[in-house]
């Protein structure tokens, strides 16, 4: 083979590898191209609420990313928002991890929502450091479908949040992070931030931030009719 031919071939190969690298770069979930909006993969995990899916850019919970849920008070339906997705994941034989849940996850309720209980792992690490370590390990292990974590008294540093977000991307895991609403003002690396409130009867969801999509929308999700039905008072 002559030298010139060799050079030509080398150039071609170099061009190809450049192209490949560029397409790899563009395929990253955190790069948003307005021109390619229609081509975007809509590969989120369906949340089970059609109206919510319609608002989310990936038509479901974003994969391999942190979703922050800003809740001040439990009991407004924040878990039932996630339960359909969790049930779907456990039925697909993926593990769901709860890190330091505030109360005991009640097995009969989870089972009747369709969650496969044997795929559910609850961990109670002691101390802030162990908790971050365990969360990161579980997120990046690649065997968890979803991980739910609750912010304890000590707010995690920005650097830690970023690490968790990266770990979630590495392990392709849904990371739901529950935080108080006082954190709404502080910046966060999460790719989706939802503020959850109750307007008396319904769960009010407000999109605070969404990577690659619009934010600011409000949504009202009704709670299960079984729960809010009002009986005639007995006395």
């Amino acid at each position: 083979m002559s030298n010139a031919e060799n050079l030509l071939q080398n150039n071609q190969l170099a061009d190809q590898s450049k192209q490949q690298r560029l397409s790899q770069l563009l395929a990253r979930p955190d790069i948003w191209q307005a021109a390619n909006e229609h081509k975007r993969q809509r590969s989120g995990i369906a949340s089970g609420y059609a109206s919510l899916d319609a608002l989310l850019a990936s038509r479901g919970w974003p994969r391999g990313a942190t979703t922050e849920l800003l809740v001040n008070q439990s009991g407004i339906g924040e878990m039932s928002l996630l339960l359909p997705a969790l049930a779907e994941l456990t039925q697909r034989e993926q593990m769901v991890v709860l890190v330091n849940p505030p109360f005991i996850p009640y097995a009969p309720a989870l089972a009747s929502a369709g969650v496969q209980l044997e795929k559910l792992l609850i961990i109670h690490p002691r101390g802030h450091k162990d908790e971050l370590w365990a969360t990161e390990q579980a997120l990046q292990s690649g065997c968890c479908g979803a991980l739910l974590s609750w912010q304890d008294r000590q707010a995690p540093a920005d650097k830690d949040l970023r690490r968790l977000q990266l770990a979630a991307r590495e392990g392709d895991c849904l990371h739901f992070h529950f935080r108080p609403q006082s954190c709404a003002a502080s910046p966060s690396p999460a790719s989706l931030r939802l503020q959850l409130n109750s307007d008396g009867e319904q769960l009010a969801v407000q999109l605070l931030k969404q990577l690659g999509g619009q934010s600011g929308q409000r949504l009202h999700l009704a709670r299960s009719a079984d729960l809010v039905r009002r009986d005639q008072p007995l006395h």
């Binding site: 365990a134 390990q137 968890c144 109750s198 079984d226």
Partner: protein
């Protein structure tokens, strides 16, 4: 088949004196069992002390004779160790213990090794025999060897001096013809049978095995019995010659001693890695795995500390095991300097084909990764930090669930015959670990503001037959801020409690 018989003629003496320095060799020593000399060392033998003498005669011959009681148990242990040593050369090993004196049986302890499968790996017969001899010499155990096509033949030929001479120089295993020659050439007294039979053979004028083989077998059978004919057939190779096969014990134990004590847990990593690698090597060779690695940190006089690393899947990867051990070591505070580190695995289990999910191309499967994650979490957070939940059959809400072992996570994927169904009623996702007392004033309930009852009551009244009745009326209530709660009124005390949250 190529059987090597290694006989240990001086084992009774050597197990007792092996640890001594060479200098004590000059002292006359003998091992006794039931008033009879079993074995004597070189110095004693020079003065005429030999096997079979009574103690009185031996002491008369050699006044300063040191008598040692024979320790059969230690001999047995030593033989097992030798069998394990032989197992590193060939998988077919069979140890045979020495006969005891009172049964009139003066056979030495010996070890049979089947060599035909391992000649290639050891580079031929001659280097292999050299290596065996060298390692035995290092262990300070004297031996003599014989090679045969069956264990009986190897044993007999090991006693034949001409054969031993040939074995010292040979390069290749002999042909079947050569063996037949040696066997027929051997004197009859080398046959492995009782003294009565040998006396009978000599009385018949049969001095060599060749003479015996010349007689028709039926004749031999009628004179010496069926067992003797059997033995001859095994010696000839016309019949199978089974020996019990040795299986190494299913456990692992290794210890490292530090001449200068360590006081830093990071310094421990290197010796720990060495032990783990040793373990992995042995496990891989024998296709076994272990669920639990038990580490022991020995503080010398100040006692010791034991911790264990648990592995949920068969794992032969030394690096991963070291990483798990490291996680455990980080949690440990060393109060005293460590003098020795030991690793024990009590239970080694056979590896099954489907259990080892190590892909040929080194890719981890989903299940494997989840097991690695569980092992890691367990190693750092401790066993008690991990849990699962399952359903339980009970009327009482707080007893309708139980915390499950995390190992349930992957194991029984197949559905069991009896499956629990959750109760068909709206139940809260969060349960309080103990019901929270609610304030009530003027027929109003308060929990972070006033709460109003929406639904109910659902009466749950159980365990009235036991001590302490649990009678409750459950309601679903809504708080001021829209939260839904599961509250109940105790029927006996009429107090209100919060029991769950519909999150």
């Amino acid at each position: 088949m190529l059987w090597l018989c290694i006989q240990f003629p001086k084992l009774p003496l050597e197990v007792l004196t092996r640890a001594q320095h060479d200098g004590t060799e000059a002292h006359a020593q003998a091992v006794v069992e039931q008033q009879l000399i079993v074995d004597a060392n070189h110095t004693a033998a020079e003065r005429g002390v030999e096997t079979g003498l009574t103690i009185a005669t031996a002491c008369a011959l050699c006044a300063d004779l040191q008598l040692l009681q024979r320790d059969i148990q230690r001999e047995e242990q030593q033989l097992q160790q030798l069998a394990q040593w032989g197992y590193s050369f060939t998988p077919v090993v069979s140890p045979q213990a020495a006969g005891s004196v009172d049964a009139g049986d003066d056979r030495f302890a010996c070890l049979y090794l089947e060599l035909s499968g391992c000649l290639k790996a050891s580079g031929g017969l001659h280097p292999l025999l050299q290596q065996l001899k060298r390692e035995l010499r290092q262990m300070r155990i004297s031996c003599f060897m014989g090679l045969g096509h069956s264990p009986s033949a190897a044993r007999m030929l090991s006693q034949l001096p001409e054969h031993r001479q040939w074995l010292r120089e040979t390069q290749a295993p002999p042909s079947p013809q050569q063996w037949r020659q040696w066997i027929s050439f051997s004197p009859s007294k080398l046959l492995d049978c009782d003294n009565k039979t040998i006396a009978k053979l000599y009385a018949c004028g049969i001095k060599r095995v060749s003479q015996l083989l010349a007689i028709p077998l039926s004749e031999v059978g009628s004179r010496f019995g069926r067992n003797f004919v059997d033995y001859l057939a095994r010696l000839n190779g016309t019949r199978h010659d089974p020996v019990p096969s040795y299986q190494p014990p299913p456990e692992f134990h290794s210890e490292l001693f530090f001449p200068s004590p360590l006081d830093n847990s990071e310094q421990l990593l290197f010796p720990a890695g060495r032990l783990v690698r040793e373990l992995c090597q042995q496990l891989q060779r024998r296709q076994l795995y272990s669920h639990q690695l038990r580490w022991k940190l020995d503080f010398g006089q100040q006692g010791c500390k034991v911790f264990s690393v648990e592995v949920s899947r068969p794992l032969l990867d030394a690096q991963r095991l070291i990483a798990l051990t490291k996680l455990q070591l980080e949690r440990i505070k060393l109060e005293q300097p460590i003098q020795a580190l030991s690793l024990t695995c009590d239970q080694l289990l056979p590896m099954e084909q489907d259990k080892l999910d190590d892909d040929l191309f080194g890719k981890d499967t989903q299940v494997q990764r989840s097991h690695q994650l569980l092992d890691k979490l367990k190693a750092r957070l401790g066993h008690e930090a991990l849990s699962g939940v399952t359903l339980k059959e009970s009327y009482l809400p707080e007893q309708a669930w139980q915390s499950a072992d995390t190992l349930v996570l992957q194991s029984n994927r197949s559905k069991k015959g009896h499956q629990l169904k959750p109760i068909n009623a709206p139940r809260p996702t969060w349960l309080l670990s103990r019901p929270d007392r609610l304030h009530s004033r003027e027929h109003k309930l308060f929990y972070r503001g006033e709460i109003k009852l929406l639904q109910g009551p659902e009466r749950i009244d159980g365990y009235w037959w036991q001590h302490g009745r649990h009678g409750r009326d459950y309601y679903i209530a809504r708080g001021e801020e829209g939260g839904l709660y599961w509250v109940f009124q105790d029927l006996t005390s009429e107090d209100w409690y919060l029991h769950g949250v519909y999150a």
